[in-house]
């Protein structure tokens, strides 16, 4: 390992630690705010559909489903957000994250054919996630079967005594130590100390703001350092995926790349120019995208290590099961697999002829409809 790689790895570990500490800070901030106030705050997502749309909006705004899902895990872990309302929000995050690679495809707008392929490569992810939500969201809402699976999974993991899940595990103790030190550091600032003694709500709001900013920044740094560290492996993996075509191998490549860089947007955004140039077909890029959808769930699982409440692990496992099931339902059968691919191709034919439709699509799907929905459902 050379010096640069060592530096990248060290920073990635350091920022991963900060990420976990940030989740703990968020949990503390929420607890400081008090149940009475937080109940009112989350009333707007007490409708599952509104929760779904809020999940989309938040993810579009921060351009990262990992930030959204990690924050949700923190909220669930602090007990302020119940599983029932958190689940649709995580599903919404799945949809919202697809906007990033759609925006990347705009970089190919100059050449019609290239844009057609690039736009289809990005929107097949949108259609896949929409399709999975259409299928599984109502099913889980009415039967709760994924939630039950996630709860059973949590019980199983806790029963095995997996050290990270134990309240007194060294990782949890390390995270607690970090968050306590940050709180002590903040208290040493006269203004913040004054705030904590005289206005606990303002102090809690400040803590929450700092925690969310830390989650965002630490994740960003984890992603950038891991990407630098893994560049050769990513390239090697994609070259292999190109030579082998699609299939399960491509899903595995998608999982591994996303798992290692902690961001599905990185994986799917890399695919856009490759498909745009025509060297990778949309059909063969699709399984890599699905792999990215599975790989991205690791962030929520990691975030759950920072919270004491087992519900944090349950929501993370729900995310894993939901994304795994989506792939298991859509991918094996060609006729179903082709639905998101063909929808993306058809839309790309229209947008390649009239590029403004692509902009309208992004604005309507990722901003206007969710905003309108949130207003209507409340």
């Amino acid at each position: 390992m050379n010096l640069k790689s060592f530096k990248n790895l060290s920073f990635a570990i350091l920022f991963l630690y900060f990420f976990l500490v940030s989740i703990k800070l968020l949990e503390k901030g929420i607890k400081t705010l008090g149940a009475e106030y937080t109940d009112a705050l989350f009333e707007s997502v007490s409708n599952p559909f509104a929760g779904l749309l809020v999940g989309i909006l938040c993810t579009v705004l921060v351009q990262s489903s990992s930030v959204t899902t990690a924050t949700i895990v923190g909220l669930v872990g602090s007990g302020v957000l119940s599983l029932e309302y958190a689940i649709p929000m995580v599903m919404g995050a799945n949809i919202g994250t697809t906007v990033t690679n759609t925006l990347v495809s705009f970089g190919h707008a100059r050449r019609e054919q290239e844009f057609k392929r690039a736009f289809a490569a990005s929107t097949m992810h949108d259609f896949f996630n929409l399709l999975v939500v259409i299928l599984l969201f109502p099913l889980d809402l009415f039967t709760g079967f994924i939630t039950k699976l996630a709860e059973d999974g949590t019980e199983f993991i806790l029963a095995t005594g997996f050290s990270v899940t134990k309240p007194n595990s060294p990782i949890k103790a390390g995270i607690k130590w970090g968050s306590n030190n940050i709180l002590d550091g903040l208290s040493s600032v006269p203004f913040i100390n004054n705030l904590s003694e005289n206005s606990y709500r303002a102090y809690a709001a400040l803590l929450i703001a700092i925690a969310i900013a830390f989650i965002f920044l630490s994740l960003r740094n984890v992603v950038s350092n891991m990407k630098s560290l893994m560049l050769n492996q990513i390239e090697f993996g994609l070259d292999k995926a190109l030579s082998k075509g699609g299939g399960l191998f491509a899903i595995l490549i998608g999982i591994l790349i996303t798992f290692s860089v902690q961001s599905s947007s990185i994986t799917t955004s890399i695919l856009v120019p490759i498909v745009g140039s025509g060297i990778l077909s949309i059909e063969n890029a699709f399984p890599i995208t699905l792999g990215a959808n599975i790989g991205t769930t690791i962030t929520a699982v990691l975030a759950s290590f920072a919270v004491d409440n087992p519900a944090g692990l349950t929501i993370a496992l729900h995310h894993v099961y939901f994304n795994l099931m989506g792939v298991a339902i859509i991918y094996p059968f060609k006729i179903i697999r082709n639905i998101p691919i063909n929808l993306a191709k058809r839309l790309s034919i229209i947008t390649a002829k009239r590029r403004y439709i692509a902009i309208l699509y992004v604005l309507i799907t990722f901003l206007l409809l969710p905003l309108l929905g949130v207003v209507l459902f409340n």
């Binding site: 560049l231 050769n232 390239e235 994609l238 070259d239 890399i270 695919l271 120019p273 490759i274 060297i279």
Partner: protein, 210 residues
């Protein structure tokens, strides 16, 4: 910047040159020796296909490399890879053209110029090997030597072609010989162009004379 993947592109270019040397040997042996064309035809076309596939692989790797390293991309280097791979690929095409001269029944194996042809064959073969040895080196002087040598060879071939076109020389197969020199000149030019891509500024690649 991911160095390993660029090493991989270097390796592919090197493999293209190894195959170029092989296809060049086949074509020249058919023209200057007594090789039975039927025994080498498949090998020649298969080698050309291999070169073409390697060329496509270089392009694919460059796209993947660009997509993965979009933030710190060495664009001049990638452009030089693009032009080098194209030049090397063209060597294979001209070797096919040389083989086609042999297929028309023309042979230079029995003329009195055979020794000079063999010397020319060896010199150009050495250029291909020389280029391959320069790929992984950052020895600008060595590459400049290659460019000088190639340019001089190209100029000599030009003189021979001009002489033939002006009917200054009386030879057995004037058309085939003109084409023979012409194709060899193109091979040398592509070697020189590929060499310029290793050291010249991006806008100067291929424009040695200007």
């Amino acid at each position: 910047m991911s160095k390993e993947s660029l090493d991989n592109i270097d390796a592919k270019l090197s493999e293209m040159l190894i195959n170029s040397m092989h296809i060049y040997d086949i074509a020249m042996n058919c023209l200057l020796g007594d090789t039975n064309l039927d025994t080498v035809r498949d090998d020649l076309y298969a080698t050309d296909k291999t070169i073409n596939e390697l060329h496509r692989e270089v392009r694919r790797e460059m796209i993947v490399h660009s997509a993965v390293n979009s933030r710190n991309l060495d664009i001049p280097l990638l452009l030089s890879y693009m032009t080098m791979s194209k030049d090397i690929e063209r060597i294979g095409d001209y070797c096919k053209n040389l083989f086609e001269i042999a297929e028309t029944g023309n042979t230079f194996a029995k003329g009195e110029d055979l020794d000079s042809y063999i010397e020319l064959r060896n010199d150009i073969g050495k250029l291909i090997v020389y280029l391959q040895s320069c790929l992984n080196l950052e020895d600008e002087a060595k590459i400049r030597d290659l460019i000088t040598l190639g340019s001089s060879m190209s100029s000599d071939l030009d003189d021979k072609i001009t002489g033939l076109l002006e009917n200054k020389e009386t030879i057995e197969y004037p058309v085939s010989t003109t084409l023979f020199y012409r194709y060899l000149k193109r091979i040398v030019s592509h070697i020189v162009n590929a060499s310029t891509a290793l050291i010249m500024p991006t806008d100067q690649i291929d424009y040695l004379d200007e």
